[in-house]
Amino acid sequence: MLKRILLIEDEPLIQKSLKKLLEKRGVSVTVESRGRDAIGLILNQEFDRIICDLMLQDISGFDVIEEAKARFTMAEISKLFIIITAYSSPHVIEKATQYGCMLLSKPFENIDEALNIFLSSGGTSGPA
């Protein structure tokens, strides 16, 4: 069971809602809007899951994942990170595949299913 989740998302309403919904399921959620600050958290704190938006204000979600390589192997990254994006172009999907991370496109069609995926132990399948 996952306990600590980092949510990197810069849209305040989505950030607040997801935090609340995840906390209802009994996990502790740290939120961060800026990519650079998120990198600091990833390198220095322990998380069981990192949910990362791609279009952040300062840098892209892929930049965040790149920086995470300093601490994690590719195999660890593919299980740790789940990418969420409102812009799922073929290019974005291809890049997510390279990292082996799951990708959910916003808006989520079914919130409960999305929450289940966020809380799954990870690495079970490729981009969805």
Binding site: P12, P107, F108
Partner: protein, 513 residues
């Protein structure tokens, strides 16, 4: 879609203002080289004086012959035959001149045989380079044909070859008696002597050929430009590609100065006349702009709308106040609806070039939703004829360009609504019907209204650009639709309804199974 017309204008402007092109010398036919003869002779004479071999040259190549040669040659391809005609070199049978413009993938191989006409071949750059290096390293410049490059050189036995390294070109000249006896010392001297006057001659000819080519390309692109171009210097016409004055009436004149500091040279472009080109231009710009705008909008709005939806759902589930819950539910629903609308819009304006499979009924239904604000209060319906009655909505898929088709249907429905509104103030009894008729290999889409119809005198002109009956109309709608229909391999047809009032516009699209 990058607009071709504008790209061409840019290209031509660039060409015209580039330094290599001297407008003052703009001319259609190259000047014969004779004009530059005196400079030439000076050059050659100077090279004679400084060259140690000048005695030999004067002995074998008399000044008179040289003058003849210089004045008669304007292209490299004439050179091999001319060299063979020189009395002092008449014992040779074959002459090659190989020219490679540095940086080009192929070189030119000019050759002539004694008493026969010249010929031009291409030579691969690797072959040229290996020959050039071979020739450069050799001291006596005598070679055997068996050594090298049988395919490129049409000589037999021994031959003489010498390289000339120019700034932009590498040149090899090569002569053979087509015999297996080695050339005599005299012949070698004659051959060596050639280089000192071939050098300046080649330099001049090759540069001129290159400039001629550049001018030719420019002249052709100017002459073939679809719009009228006039280049004026001090108000005098230097060049124009169209001489008929009749096309001037409906056109706008665009003026570009060609040189930044000097405004005396200008290019005038008659463009955007009231014809098909300008309609398409106007339209393609509008559509591509709209497409980009919608894409940006979708991505920018998607996130906050999703946030709104999520938050209001959570708050709704938490509140105990029923009225608040109702309002929050509505907020959530509306955010959802906005999301759907913007998504549908961008789907319709997706990549314009693409043909896709679409479910025709749902597609038409979506387009009708988009016309909602224009068609308020007018009843609208979709009729399906020849469709499977059990699943009319799912029966027919066609492969088409959805962007084009959306615009056609959208425009026709809006037109129908406007025609109805023109006719009165109460349109609650009016209706617009989109009728889909499935036939063997085609489906007909008809947009039928019960407005006033088209006046008989206007019927022949409704598809022409800028024809409009509305005060605020551009008159482009139907002509754009017709162009789009052509892109779909079809056309829009029109008839006034009879005996009922109104008009019917129809388009037939192929159905592939």
């Amino acid at each position: 879609m990058e607009d071709q017309g504008f790209t061409r204008i840019k290209e031509i402007k660039k060409l015209l203002s580039s330094n290599s092109f001297e407008l003052n010398n703009f001319e259609y036919k190259a000047k014969p080289i004779r004009a530059a003869k005196s400079i030439f002779e000076k050059k050659v004479l100077i090279s004679f004086k400084i060259n140690k071999q000048s005695e030999l040259e004067q002995k074998y190549l008399h000044k008179e012959e040289l003058r003849k040669l210089l004045s008669s040659i304007s292209e490299v391809k004439e050179l091999p035959a001319a060299i063979l005609k020189l009395p002092a070199l008449s014992s040779f049978e074959a002459c090659h001149i190989l020219v490679h413009e540095k940086g080009k993938p192929v070189g030119q191989n000019y050759l002539a045989f004694h008493g026969e006409s010249e010929e031009t071949k291409l030579i691969a750059v690797q072959n040229f380079n290996s020959l050039f290096n071979l020739v450069k390293k050799s001291k006596n410049k005598i070679f055997s044909q068996s050594l090298t490059l049988k395919d490129d050189l049409s000589v037999v036995g021994n031959f003489l070859a010498k390289e000339i390294d120019l700034k932009n070109y590498s040149v090899i000249y090569l002569m053979s008696r087509n015999s297996f006896l080695p050339p005599s010392t005299e012949e070698q001297n004659e051959f060596q002597g050639l280089s000192s006057f071939l050098h300046p001659l080649l330099l001049k000819i090759l540069d001129k050929e290159k400039n001629d080519l550049k001018k030719e390309v420019l002249r052709q692109s100017l002459e073939n430009f679809p719009e009228k171009i006039t280049i004026k210097k001090n108000n005098q016409i230097v060049f124009t590609n169209k001489t008929d004055e009749t096309s001037d009436e409906n056109s706008n004149l665009m003026i570009f100065p060609l040189e930044a500091e000097d405004s005396s040279t200008i290019m005038e472009l008659s463009n955007f006349s009231k014809d098909k080109i300008s309609t398409e231009l106007y339209h393609s710009q509008r559509v591509s702009l709209l497409g980009e705008l919608l894409n940006t909008l979708q991505h920018e709005l998607s996130n906050p709308l999703f946030g709104l939806n999520l938050t209001s759902s959570i708050l709704e589930s938490e509140t105990k106040n029923e009225e608040t819950a109702g309002i929050l539910n509505e907020i959530s629903q509306n955010a959802n609806r906005s999301q759907t609308i913007i998504k549908n819009f961008s789907n319709l304006y997706n990549d314009q070039q693409e043909f896709k499979k679409v479910n025709l009924y749902r597609f038409i239904d979506e387009v009708m939703t988009l016309t909602k604000s224009e068609t308020k209060e007018i009843a609208k319906s979709i009729q399906c004829i020849g469709f499977d009655p059990k699943i009319p909505a799912d029966d027919l898929e066609i492969t088409t360009n959805p962007t084009c088709l959306t615009q056609i249907i959208f425009n026709l429905v809006i037109n129908a609504a406007q025609a109805i509104k023109e006719n009165g103030t109460d349109f609650r009894k009016n209706s617009i019907i989109v009728r889909l008729t499935k036939r063997e290999s085609q489906v007909e889409i008809e947009v039928i209204d019960d407005g006033p119809g088209v006046k008989p005198e206007d019927v022949s002109t409704i598809f022409q650009p800028f024809f409009t009956t509305k005060d605020s109309g551009t008159g482009l709608g139907l002509s754009i639709c017709q162009n789009l229909a052509h892109q779909l391999g079809s056309k829009i047809e029109f008839k006034n309804n009879s005996p009922l009032l109104g008009a019917t516009f129809s388009i037939n699209l192929p159905v592939m199974y």
